[in-house]
């Protein structure tokens, strides 16, 4: 059995869940920047408060799976992305504590809202920066990172860094449309339309630029030409539909379309780098830990993941329906 292949599938599963689940949480945070009304901001944050922690946990799952199953990749990628990862962690930190602190602070709540929004934006931008840096390739020598910490400050990572927050904003807008009452529907529609257009343009630009500068990517694209063309087509259709979203649609549709859009994007990127785990330098088999370590994680994951998905779904289900206007706190 090809253990590293199964491990990398679990890693991709965790990372995908992170992107779509924390994606809409971060999207809500980013959209706060464009929502001046305090009551609406309360409502937006209330819509994600009961479940955000579980969503964020998937990034830890992905990071730790990388450590356990691909320690070589973990120890190359983290020093390589030292600056964006630390800034992302600080952004996620501000976002996370603001959930608690903004409720405690009535007088300075708007400041914590700013911390929430800027934290979300910084985290999303840094994740985009890491994505672009992966697409441009990582310099490796003798199983250690040999590039400069400032390799992330290049046009490609900056374009993807700008793109990803819009991608998350599409999800956030979709979630908002699903969970909010009448008052925020127009705001959600506008957010989805604008973000989807900008995300699609920036993402397409990033792909074109990446093909220009990274020969590894070009060769992968020519070998998977048909599959990638299909994905690109689906991406264009989904983003087109979102950009021209009619005012009266079923509330769940834009959210599902947004998820679809991100999933297509992730599949395309996965196809373009597979089987490298450090793009264009180290394959997943070269980076894998021994079979005993892989087995330990995979057996644990096989047993526990279904249970996690069950009770996480249960938590979502408990807090289903429209978010109450006065928030969950007064619900008690």
């Amino acid at each position: 059995m090809d253990l590293p292949l199964i491990s990398v599938s679990f890693l991709a599963f965790a990372l995908t869940l992170y992107v779509i689940l924390d994606g809409f949480d971060l999207g809500i945070g980013i959209l706060l920047l464009f929502q001046p009304a305090p009551m609406s901001r309360d409502h937006m944050i209330d819509s994600i408060t009961p479940t955000w922690d579980g969503n964020e946990t998937w990034i830890i799952m992905a990071g730790v799976t990388l450590l356990a199953a691909f320690p070589v990749a973990y120890s190359i990628l983290l020093p390589a992305f030292y600056l964006p990862v630390i800034l992302m962690l600080l952004g996620l930190g501000f976002r996370g504590v603001s959930f608690e602190f903004r409720v405690q602070s009535r007088q300075h709540r708007h400041r914590w809202d700013v911390a929430f929004a800027v934290g979300s934006l910084v985290a999303a931008f840094m994740q985009g920066l890491v994505l672009g840096s992966l697409m441009q390739g990582v310099k490796v020598q003798n199983q250690h990172f040999s590039g400069s910490l400032l390799d992330v400050v290049h046009p490609l990572p900056i374009i993807t860094g700008l793109a990803l927050p819009f991608g998350y904003a599409v999800l956030g807008g979709g979630w908002l449309k699903l969970k909010s009452g009448l008052r925020l529907q127009a705001f959600a529609n506008r957010s989805i339309r604008v973000s989807a257009a900008l995300f699609a343009i920036l993402f397409a630009l990033a792909c074109l630029y990446a093909a220009k500068i990274q020969p590894g990517l070009r060769s992968k694209w020519t070998s998977h030409g048909i599959a990638l063309a299909c994905l690109a087509g689906l991406f264009a259709i989904a983003s087109g539909l979102l950009t021209t979203l009619p005012k009266k649609t079923v509330p769940v549709v834009p959210f599902l379309l947004g998820l679809f859009l991100l999933l297509v994007g992730i599949s395309g990127l996965a196809l373009s780098t597979f089987p490298d785990i450090v793009p264009f330098s180290v394959t997943l088999w070269e980076a894998a830990s021994s079979a005993t370590s892989q087995t330990f994680v995979l057996v644990g994951a096989a047993f526990v993941t279904p249970i996690i998905l069950t009770y996480s779904a249960f938590a979502y289900w408990i807090f289903r329906g429209k978010t109450p206007d006065k928030g969950w706190e007064d619900d008690n």
């Binding site: 408060t49 009961p50 922690d53 579980g54 964020e56 946990t57 990034i59 830890i60 799952m61 990071g63 730790v64 450590l67 356990a68 199953a69 320690p71 070589v72 973990y74 120890s75 983290l78 020093p79 030292y82 600056l83 630390i86 962690l89 600080l90 996620l92 930190g93 976002r95 996370g96 504590v97 959930f99 608690e100 602190f101 405690q104 199983q143 250690h144 990172f145 040999s146 910490l149 830990s289 021994s290 005993t292 370590s293 330990f296 994680v297 644990g300 994951a301 526990v304 993941t305 996690i308 009770y311 996480s312 249960f314 938590a315 408990i318 807090f319 289903r320 969950w328 619900d331 008690n332």
Partner: protein, 473 residues
């Protein structure tokens, strides 16, 4: 100032992990405390327990939030600052932490929302279940991470070939020689921390003559837990001391402050030293005669081993280990004295009226955190220069990241964490000053799983209204 990356990376890790551990210590203790309180509420149906629950829940949730966001940092920091360590130890500790995420983090996160906001949606019984799941999550998390850390202290179950580490026995990695003692030591420390916090706040209200009912109940519970726990902790600590003396003699040699291979007989117990690591001696030392022999060798004239038994290049810095150990040890002794005093006052019936004792309890509110931090400093500075004891040195474990980058991110961490702790303290003190609020609705402990499956019934305003009316009548 010379910028040595290995030193800066260590300072950064030490700072972020020290800051982080404060919050899980509180969360582990408070989660179990909240589970006990909710169980009492369900059993007795007295609204006072719901009042206690809601009060401590608001402090718990803030602390938990900071614990989560500062914890994520650590799961990446192994690679950010110590990539060579991650590459080597990943196959052994990676799976342990992966299982921690799978079995503990998700459990906590999945049920935290219900615990914080779900009482009316799911009803008390299922809500109690959620509280228990969060509490169990904190304990599972402690088990896995203590296992990983203990493996670094007393590695076992692995084979090393050409710098690569392969696990040969998961049982030995998991149940390594120190885990069985260090886990109960840490969990008891967390429980003590919560007990002293709860008792301290109760004592403060009694001194101010406010919230008498709440204060008496929490003070009685807090001191009762603390008394039992500190007795257990002294016992566990003593066993752990013996274990570490066997596996990491250099740590305990440094902790006692003696340099010579054998100390004089009878040995004093040292309280204050000015160590001179370069010349392998103390410039100044102050101790109680005979006490060292009695406590450490359980005889009147026993000799204590000094740090010179360890080769110089494998010695930890004595000052750090010695003083961290003294702070932990002295905190434990004071806690023990407070526990004994509380028993005596309880027996005399003056537990709630002895002002001097209440003031001591107020002063002791953060004592658990101080002792726990000091204990971790003993554990982590005492095993230097090793990061995986006997296998990998800390200086060989660091990432290829230049010192200026490490410095600037360290400064960023310090600034951001300063904001976090300031806000946490301000809001916690504000919650304490405001005091527990009276519980109006939903004071009767009923409800069942059925409610969870039709939360809209619970949502309807009519339902809340009737609850309020029945409550008042």
């Amino acid at each position: 100032m010379k910028l040595d990356p290995s030193i800066v990376a260590r300072i950064q890790f030490a700072f972020t992990v020290s800051f982080h551990i404060i919050f899980p210590t509180m969360s582990i203790g408070l989660a179990s405390f909240l589970a006990v309180i909710e169980a009492l509420w369900l059993k007795t149906k007295k609204p006072i327990y719901l009042e206690i629950y809601k009060f401590w829940l608001s402090i718990f949730s803030m602390g938990f939030g900071i614990g989560v966001v500062t914890g994520i940092v650590l799961s990446f920091e192994f690679g950010l600052g110590f990539s060579r360590f991650a590459q080597m130890a990943g196959p052994a500790i990676g799976p342990l932490i992966a299982l921690e995420v799978l079995t503990a983090f998700f459990l906590e996160a999945g049920f935290l929302g219900i615990m914080l906001f779900g009482l009316n949606r799911v009803g008390p019984k299922l809500h109690f279940f959620a509280t228990c799941m969060v509490a169990i999550g904190t304990l599972l998390s402690a088990s896995w991470i203590l296992s990983a850390n203990s493996w670094m202290q007393t590695p076992a179950g692995v084979a090393i070939q050409g710098g690569h580490l392969t696990v040969v026995s998961w049982r030995h990695v998991l149940v390594n020689p120190s885990w069985l003692y260090r886990l109960p030591h840490m969990v008891t420390a967390a429980y003590l921390t919560a007990s002293f916090m709860v008792a301290g706040v109760g004592a403060w209200y009694l001194l101010r003559g406010k919230h008498q009912h709440f204060a008496r109940r929490t003070l009685a519970l807090g001191t009762a837990f603390a008394t039992v726990l500190i007795a257990a902790q002294v016992f566990i600590g003593d066993i752990l001391y013996g274990t570490m003396l066997k596996h990491q003699p250099s740590k305990m040699q440094a902790a006692e402050g003696f340099w010579e291979k054998q100390s004089q007989s009878p040995a004093p117990y040292l309280w204050f030293i000015v160590p001179d690591q370069n010349n392998q001696r103390n410039r100044f030392q102050l101790g109680t005669p005979y006490l060292g022999s009695i406590w450490l060798t359980h005889s009147l004239d026993g000799r204590v081993e000094g740090l010179k038994n360890t080769p110089r290049d494998l010695q930890p810095r004595m000052g750090m280990v010695f003083y961290a150990f003294r702070i932990m040890y002295c905190s434990a002794m004071v806690m023990f004295a407070v526990g004994v005093a509380s028993l005596w006052l309880r027996f005399r019936g003056t537990l709630f009226s002895s002002r001097w004792f209440l003031w001591i309890l107020v002063f002791m509110t953060p004592s658990g955190i101080v002792a726990t931090l000091a204990g971790w400093y003993v554990a982590e500075t005492g095993r230097q220069p090793w990061v995986i004891y006997g296998i990998l040195k800390t200086a060989d474990a660091i990432s290829p990241v230049p010192a200026p980058a490490l410095w600037s991110t360290l400064v960023a961490f310090v600034c951001v964490y300063a904001v976090f702790i300031t806000a946490f303290l301000i809001f916690t003190l504000r919650i304490i000053r405001r005091g527990p609020s009276e519980v109006h609705s939903y004071a009767e402990a009923s409800g069942s799983l059925k409610n969870a499956f039709r939360p809209y019934v619970l949502d309807s305003p009519g339902r809340l209204l009737t609850t309020n009316i029945t409550q008042r009548s």
